[in-house]
Amino acid sequence: MKYGYYPGCSLEGISVEYNHSMRSLFDALDVTIEDLPDWICCGTLAAPSISRLLGVATPLWNVAKAKQEGFEQVVAPCSACVYHFKNAEKQVNQDSKLMSDVESVLELPLNDLPRTVHPLEILINDGFEERIKFSVQRDLSNLKVVCYYGCHISRPAEVMRFDDPEDPQSMDRLLNWVGVQTLDWASKVDCCGAHFSLIKPDIVVDLCTKLVEAALEVGADAIVVACPMCHANLDTRQEEIAERLGHPFKLPVLYFSQVLGYAFGLEPNTLGLRKHIVDPLPLMLEKCQPVGANYPSLQEMSA
């Protein structure tokens, strides 16, 4: 399988640590990913608000180019990007006029496009279970986290076609494979309010407070996310949240790729663990043990 990598704007900016950890993770798993040449912004909310054509054409330009390059799948770590890609594809597939319009503005054919997927989809669906289990170098079995999926990993279900829209499990399973305890909690698919970050930050703080409250309530050591928007909101707003809650707290927010990478024994710098507002390293150092008695041996796992 030849995977094309679409980092998207966030991963080049506010979430370089997601980018680095994602690339290191694929590296550690011996998966070759190649950056899409000349990729452009997915258009996010801005493009569709100007015109339907623009909103659809921007993401599709990337996939159409990816196809020219011979990629079979495009991996996009930002779940908002994945949504825009998948949605654009669905739109043109349902509307042949739109498809031909897009083809004529892009001057690229849109048939048999590569699928765009979130990295979680690859790791869960493409048969990496054994490899991931075998790659564990650090024992994280004392680490208790909640997985926060947010809006777009699995929804809208008819667009994303991945995982259970109301009760997604993919990130939990992935972390379980490397021994991390994942806790059930009430808010795994609630919205963090990302779209209102700039215009109505109050709403965002409200929503994030609820998320943090729910995570603390079940006793999570950290929140694990798979989207740069979710991460930014939850990591940067903890002072305001603490004000609402009326008590101070520190709740590290990690990308699943960082947790996996850490379990694989990768270095904190490689994983960008020092790039967060709420420093996760003390937690990781505290919870992490070398592979030992409490952890199933490789042989046992292979049996």
Partner: protein, 1499 residues
């Protein structure tokens, strides 16, 4: 376009008379009602039900709205009557497959699926369920508890019998050559029943201890659990069982009985030979086994090292076969087959195995220090092996024999042991764990070598010269393709070399002239189907015919060989049992992940067996694997997914004392001749998993409404205790979410019942646990039925909280498993509210599988999947002769379901009228026992009624007390006395104890007395020798909080009943000829429809209409939502009515007088302009007098001509488009005159009428603004789609609260000010027309008719039916029926037509009878006591008594009264008035009543 089927006349004689039988598909309340009506009307009914019991969804309900009657109590009499009706054949576990032929002459193809329990033999004792080890979710209880694979659908199930659920063959069993029922013995292990488990194993395999250790267990490879985590450790569990059982001292089995003279010789005592020996000796043959070696067991005994398979296990399992009576001759080599035959054996089985080790033909292979591994192993087992101590042993070969030998050599002290083989490491044939363990024991593996020669130095072996293999492959013909690496020759050192490259059979005893052929491969040649060799009477099986294989194959071959030898000896084909063709239950990954998502399967890896440390192993031949502990084994067994459901472990078969179990039952297809088919397939509750946002299946405390019914039900999983599933705590805060699976984009209909059942559940929940806070989240509250709004108001008064909001999500608080409902209030406030339990009010879906069946039957469905019907006959499907009723046509509640069932029955009766009575027989009873001179012998039966009685009254104490009463010779108690098995017990008690009087202390005589009367009649007791003590309705229910006092009262009631029953005398029923005509009052849609339906069946009808023309309210109806033209339909109907030869129509006429009773009514008519009053004799009467619109005074109606009613608007719409096109704005106000304090009911039809007219306006002019001001939009059922359509077309719906009515003023323009309840602000609407949706009210003179007919009215003036749920068409007085708007507002046209046809059906069920049976409870005059005072004459409410003059013996003229028994209802008024005790009511004589009173007072 559907052609109306109105014109179907009774079948003409072209095909002969139609078949007088009807098939009713579906045994729910609709199916039962239709069946009963048809059966009463003289038709044979096949009631087809796919479940093992009838009852449908209603049987699962707790209570029913709006009367809060217990659903089971109301349905139970129907269940029993249906099952007991002489004309109804209930076919459970049966499906309709297809239909051929013409209406009146169908051939219905059905499949009767196996129940595996004989209905006639099953006593419902429950022993099968008791011993069944398969535990699964009880679907009847919504999966809230569990049941067994052998089960009864519900406690009161009819037929009262168990059934066994099978899904198919588990893949483990399918994968096993011997067909081991692994799922069965695993379940028995989980239950700790090890003897049973061993029995199950041994029935298929005599070597469980052996196979538990050394089988290659293909079952585990096939195990569905592979898709979840690891397969079940089936072999380990099998071994565990033997470990457990064999730990007990050995007890030899009883020798098998010899049945046949014939003797069989078996050569070889390996697994194949011994299996055959066991089968044959058990079949009754003489069996002798010949064994060359000094020990029996073959390879099992001498080919497997001790550390893998201890000798004692082999010995024990062999001994058990020998002890069945097999003769074993050890150390005996058979030299000649002829000798066996001359010794008197009739058949020979060659099962010598493959014991000869092969060697490679390479130089040096005949060196004395070169051995074969198989001989080495054998010699070790026999204690005479070559000494390997201190030697360097080199094994050539990569299979299990090589590894076995290597590890044996290690244990015998070899200095070094190496294994070299051709295959690469991954392809080695030995089990992986064997290789790993060998390596742990220090054995070196040299894979990928080919061997050139044995290397030696001066005669002493130094090793083997080997080359590296580059490529190798065995071809299909067994030859080897080999490519070696050039110049890779090297020496593998060793001083002893063992070949372990395979074995061949030792066939030296088969000389050329023995007539038994062999193959080139050195095996015996056999016919693989018969196992016979080329010589008659000589059979061969096992490794000797196939080459080396596994034990389980040898066992299988042994079984098959034995079977074929039997065939041979019997000289005939052995009868092949017809066995069910069950599918193999292979799960798909999708199915598994779905079940995992639902939480049905939880990942839980296989439990590992402990094993010896490698250091310990080297010292000893002790078993390496130590087996499971009991705890481990049961935990491992609990991982089984029970793929096949029933595992055929046969526990039930051995347990059932009645011999009712038959696991070989197969599905049978049959054809039945029927004239018509009624589809009463019901509905399917919406699968709440699909609404993932509400967390059903994830959160244990989110339940569906069907589950909640079971939670509340006394026979439910929590025996009626209101607790939540997660922790069994009583929920304090319960929320209902409405419209789950209804009113959605994909399910664009309203499920019609959920608002009311949620309200009922809330009320009942509060009754269960006062103080429970109940909250109902709803969109519109749809209380549109009779008595519904009053019920809704009552719920609000009782504290049920209604929140108008559609929650967006339910989340679970993981800490306490409480639920958080997220919803938005009208003001935009977001609320997160905590609840302990959430009930999802799931909607109705078309029944499962109906899409397929409808296709097969050629019956069209709507796009939503409901059955397609026509407006004018909403019972007719698109196929003639096939009718539909109940929610399969449209979501509906129970009364409407019952109506449609009677109506569908009427349609079938009409079609088949000429075939009536052709296929039915009267019910036969045994001759009556004469009890006249017998002293009373009373039996008392006290009922628990589940927990209805026993939850309050101490039933045991009452029973014990009953035993102490005079003349009581027998007393007993039952869980449900009305269940079929309890009734059988009553009959047995009557016969056993010569009872001549019976008392049942139970629910109520209202529903149950006739059932028990029939029970005793069936064993020859007159049915009046019965008394029912009402200890439920009048005791346990009303004294819930005083159990002790209630128990005392129950005793009192029983004592009174016994006191009375001791005195009662038998009475004889009488048969009466009667009038078969009908009078129908009201010539509107309802009256005409009922008249035509009856007239088409051949009955004569008098139709009375007060107006000068037929048509009633329908004459004002201009449009229908379905776009049919109501006036065209009406004209057609009127024409047919006038033309029908069986209908006499009286216009301008009213009923003037009315007298008589069922079967002999007499009415006179008052006809305008005619002096003479026509007299009509009739057997029944149908009231179809309709209703009228409310005349409003509100909103300037009558003062401003721009204010109209909806009907007036319809007239304008009908006049043409110009007037409407000119309007800019039309405002409609709903509930004018409805839902007010004076008239608190909902008029049901106005919402859809407003929507209909709004759509008409929009069709004419889309720019005309239409506003509908409403409280709740009540477009129930399939009307919902029109509501959506109206919104889509721009009709504006504005909601107001009833206490904030809109203001209208007409200063120039017409202005309506509504206080919008959503926006909480006043909105001013300019209206060109204001249209009032006015109430439908009873006819103003309805009370006069009510008095004339002596029938009751509701508080609101509509007529009151006999029972709101189950008798919605009957009046309490027999022979009088009700239909149309006289009952309640009805949707035009369908609902009126349904109820009218239903009334026709109910009437026909009586009119079709040849004679009427009349009750003998009437008053009687004691002539010598009566002095003619006539005090009784006037009080008689039925005018049954007249005063006569007569001449006595002395010639004196005297007076006395006489009673017309056919009119007398036995009410007893006369008895109470008579000063001389000269008139009495039979069965209610004063003596009886006195005895009861005395008993009550205990004097």
């Amino acid at each position: 376009m559907i052609i109306p089927k109105e014109d179907i006349q009774p079948m003409n004689s072209q095909n002969g008379k139609p078949v007088g039988a009807v098939m009713v598909v579906g045994g729910g309340i609709a199916g039962m009602q239709a069946s009963l009506d048809l059966a009463d009307a003289g038709f044979k009914v096949y009631l087809v039900e796919k479940e093992p019991a009838i009852g449908g969804h209603m049987a699962a309900l707790d209570k029913t709205f709006p009367t809060n009657d217990c659903a089971m109590c109301t349905i139970s009499p129907r269940l029993v009557t249906t099952a007991g009706h002489n004309n109804i054949e209930v076919l459970t576990n049966t499906e309709l497959l297809g239909l051929e032929g013409e209406p009146g002459h169908f051939k219905a193809k059905i499949r009767r699926n196996p129940r595996y329990i004989d209905l006639d033999k099953c006593t419902a004792c429950g022993d099968c369920a008791e011993v069944c080890p398969i535990v699964l979710d009880d679907n009847f209880n919504g999966g809230l508890n569990q049941r067994k694979a052998a089960f009864k659908l519900y406690p009161q199930a009819v037929p009262n019998a168990f059934a066994i659920e099978k899904k198919g063959i588990a893949p483990c069993r399918d994968a096993c050559p011997a067909g081991q029922r692994a799922q069965g013995y695993i379940a028995l292990i989980r239950e700790g029943r090890y003897e049973d488990a061993l029995r199950v194993i041994k029935e298929d395999n005599p070597f469980p201890g052996i196979c538990g250790r050394i089988c290659n267990h293909r079952c585990e490879t096939a195990c569905n659990r592979n898709l979840v985590d690891d397969p079940i450790s089936i072999a380990g569990l099998k071994r565990f069982v033997t470990d457990q059982v064999y730990a007990q001292p050995y007890e030899p089995p009883l020798p098998a009985k010899r049945k046949y003279e014939e003797r069989v010789a078996i050569i070889g005592s390996g697994p194949c030979g011994l299996t055959a020996a066991k089968d044959l000796v058990q079949a009754g043959y003489g069996v002798t086994v010949f064994e060359t070696l000094p020990v029996a067991g073959g390879m099992l005994r001498v080919g497997v090292p001790e550390y893998r398979l201890p000798t004692w296990i082999v010995n024990r399992e062999v001994q058990e076969i020998i002890d069945l009576g097999v003769e074993l001759r050890l150390n005996t080599r058979v030299e000649n087959l002829d000798e066996l035959f001359s010794e008197g054996f009739n058949a020979v089985l060659i099962a010598v195995g493959a014991h000869n080790g092969r060697r490679l033909p390479i130089p040096g292979s005949d060196h004395p220090d070169v051995f074969t591994a198989v001989h080495f192993l054998r010699d070790v087992c026999l204690g005479k092996a070559e000494n390997v101590n201190g030697r360097h042993v080199l094994l050539l070969g990569g299979g299990n024999v090589a590894l076995d030998s290597a590890r044996t050599a290690v244990r015998l002290g070899a200095k070094q042991v190496d294994v070299a083989c051709l295959e690469d490491r991954q392809s080695m044939l030995a089990d992986e764990h064997e290789i790993i363990e060998a390596e742990e024991e220090g054995i070196r593996i040299f894979p990928g070598r080919a061997f050139n020669q044995i290397a030696n130095n001066n005669g002493r072996i130094t090793g083997v010269e080997a080359v590296d293999v580059k490529f190798m492959q065995f071809e299909a013909d067994g030859s080897l393709t080999l490519e070696t690496v050039p110049n890779s020759e090297h020496i593998l050192s060793g001083d002893m070399v063992f070949f372990a490259i395979g074995q061949s059979a030792g066939l030296a005893f088969i000389p050329e002239d023995s007539q038994v052929g062999t193959t080139r491969g050195g095996t015996v040649a056999v016919n693989p189907n018969t196992f016979s060799t080329s010589r008659a009477g000589v059979f061969a099986a096992g490794d000797a015919t196939t080459g080396t294989a596994f034990v389980i194959e040898a066992v299988t071959a042994g079984h098959q060989a034995a079977e074929n030898i039997q065939k041979y000896l019997l000289g005939e084909e052995l009868e092949v049992r017809e066995q069910p063709e069950l599918p193999v239950v292979k799960m798909s990954p999708t199915e598994v992940s779905l079940r995992m998502a639902k939480g049905e399967i939880e990942p839980k890896p296989r439990l590992r067996m402990a094993s010896l440390e490698s250091k310990q192993r080297l010292q000893t031949f002790d078993e390496v694997n130590l087996g499971y502990t009991e705890e481990q084994a049961r935990a491992e067994a609990a991982r089984c997914l029970q793929c096949g459901v029933c595992s055929e472990c046969l526990s039930c078969y051995y347990k059932c004392a009645a011999g009712a179990i038959n696991h070989d039952e197969i599905a049978v297809q049959e054809q039945l001749d029927v004239g018509a088919v009624i589809l009463a397939s019901g509905f399917e509750p919406y699968d709440a998993h699909l609404s993932g946002e509400y967390g059903f299946g994830r959160f244990p405390n989110v339940v569906t409404s069907m589950q909640f019914e079971r939670v509340l039900s006394p026979s439910g999983p929590f025996v009626g205790h209101l607790v939540r599933p997660s922790d069994g705590h009583e929920p304090k805060r319960i929320a209902w979410i409405q419209c789950v699976g209804s009113r959605e984009s994909e399910r664009n209909w309203c499920s019609a019942v959920c608002c009311m059942y949620a309200t009922k559940q809330a009320i009942i929940a509060q009754e269960h646990a006062p103080g429970t806070e109940c909250t109902i989240f709803y969109i519109d509250f749809r209380a549109y039925g009779k008595g519904f709004d009053a019920y809704y108001e009552r719920a609000k008064e009782e504290g049920v909280r209604y929140v108008r909001a559609l929650p967006s999500a339910v989340r679970q608080n993981p800490n306490d498993e409480n639920l958080i409902i997220h919803y938005t209030l009208p003001d935009g406030n977001q609320i997160y509210e905590d609840f302990d339990l959430v009930v999802l009010s799931v909607g109705m879906q078309p029944p499962n599988g109906m899409a397929q069946l409808a296709g097969d039957l050629d019956v069209a469905l709507t796009e939503d999947g409901f059955c397609q019907t026509t407006n004018l006959s909403p019972l007719d499907t698109t196929r003639q002769g096939v009718y539909v009723c109940g929610p399969f046509a449209e979501p509906k509640d129970i009364p409407e379901t019952v109506m449609s069932a009677s109506a569908a029955a009427a349609r079938a009766m009409t079609l088949l009228a000429e075939g009536r009575h052709s296929l039915v027989q009267p019910k036969e009873y045994p001759p009556e026992i004469d009890v006249t001179d017998q002293p009373p012998r009373v039996g008392v039966f006290v009922c628990h009624c589940g927990s209805n009685i026993a939850g309050v009254v101490d039933v045991e104490a009452v029973t014990e007390y009953a035993r102490s009463l005079p003349d009581v010779v027998f007393a007993d108690n039952n869980l449900f006395t009305c269940s079929t098995d309890s009734q059988t017990r009553i009959q047995e008690a009557i016969q056993e104890h010569d009872l001549n009087r019976v008392v049942v202390a139970s629910c109520t005589p209202r529903t149950h007395e006739p059932i028990f009367q029939d029970t005793i009649r069936q064993v020859g007791l007159n049915f009046y020798l019965f008394e029912l003590a009402n200890i439920r309705d009048q005791c346990s229910w009303v004294h819930r909080d005083f159990p002790e006092a209630a128990t005392e009262k129950a005793k009192d009631l029983v004592r009174m009943a016994v006191a009375r029953v001791r005195l009662v005398e038998p009475l004889q029923r009488k048969w009466l000829e009667f009038n078969h005509d009908a009078l129908i009052i009201g010539g509107g849609l309802a009256g005409m429809t009922a008249a035509l339906e009856l007239a088409d069946q051949g009955f004569k009808i008098s139709l009375v209409e007060r107006q000068g023309d037929l048509g009633g309210n329908m004459r004002h109806l201009q449009f229908l939502l379905s776009h049919a033209d109501p006036q065209a339909l009406l004209a057609q109907l009127i024409k047919k009515t006038f033309q029908h030869p069986n209908i006499t129509t009286f216009l301008n006429a009213e009923v003037d007088s009315f007298e008589g009773s069922l079967g002999k009514f007499k009415s006179t008519l008052k006809v305008t302009d005619i002096e003479e009053s026509p007299l009509i004799n009739h057997g029944v009467v149908i009231v179809a007098t309709g209703a009228q619109p409310y005349q409003p005074s509100e909103y300037l109606y009558g003062q401003d001509e721009r204010v109209l009613t909806q009907l007036e608007l319809e007239d304008i719409l009908a006049r043409g488009s110009a007037e409407i096109s000119a309007l800019k704005s039309v405002v409609m106000i709903q509930c004018v005159g409805s839902r007010t304090p004076e008239r608190p009911y909902c008029s049901r039809i106005c919402c859809s009428q407003a929507v209909k007219n709004a759509l008409q306006i929009k069709e004419i002019n889309p720019n005309t603004e239409v506003y509908i001001l409403y409280q709740d939009i009540r477009t129930y059922g399939l009307l919902e789609k029109y509501y959506r359509q109206a919104r889509q077309e721009g009709v504006m719906f504005l909601r107001f609260e009833p206490d904030q009515p809109s203001q209208v003023n007409a200063d120039g323009t017409l202005q309506v000010v509504i206080h919008d309840a959503m926006l909480e602000t006043d909105i001013l609407l300019e209206a060109d027309r204001l249209v009032l949706s006015v109430a439908t009210i009873p006819r103003e003179d309805a009370n006069q008719l009510a008095q004339l007919l002596k029938v009751p009215q509701m508080q609101d003036g509509f007529f009151q039916e006999a029972h709101m749920k189950l008798a919605p068409i009957d009046f309490a007085s027999e022979g009088i029926f009700l239909c149309g708007m006289a009952h309640y507002p009805k949707k035009a046209v369908t609902e009126t037509v349904i109820q009218a046809k239903a009334a026709a059906g109910r009437a026909a069920a009586i009119l079709a009878q040849r004679e009427l049976e009349i009750e003998p409870i009437t008053s009687h005059v004691l002539e010598d006591k009566c002095d003619g005072c006539a005090y009784c004459v006037d009080p008689c409410p039925f005018d049954a008594i007249t005063l006569i003059e007569y001449t006595d013996e002395a010639g004196k003229t005297k007076k006395r009264v006489v009673v017309d028994e056919t009119i007398c209802k036995g009410c007893g008024t006369c008895q109470a008035t008579c000063p001389k005790d000269a008139i009495y009511v039979s069965h209610f004589k004063l003596d009886y009543l006195r005895a009861m009173t005395m008993a009550a007072l205990e004097v």
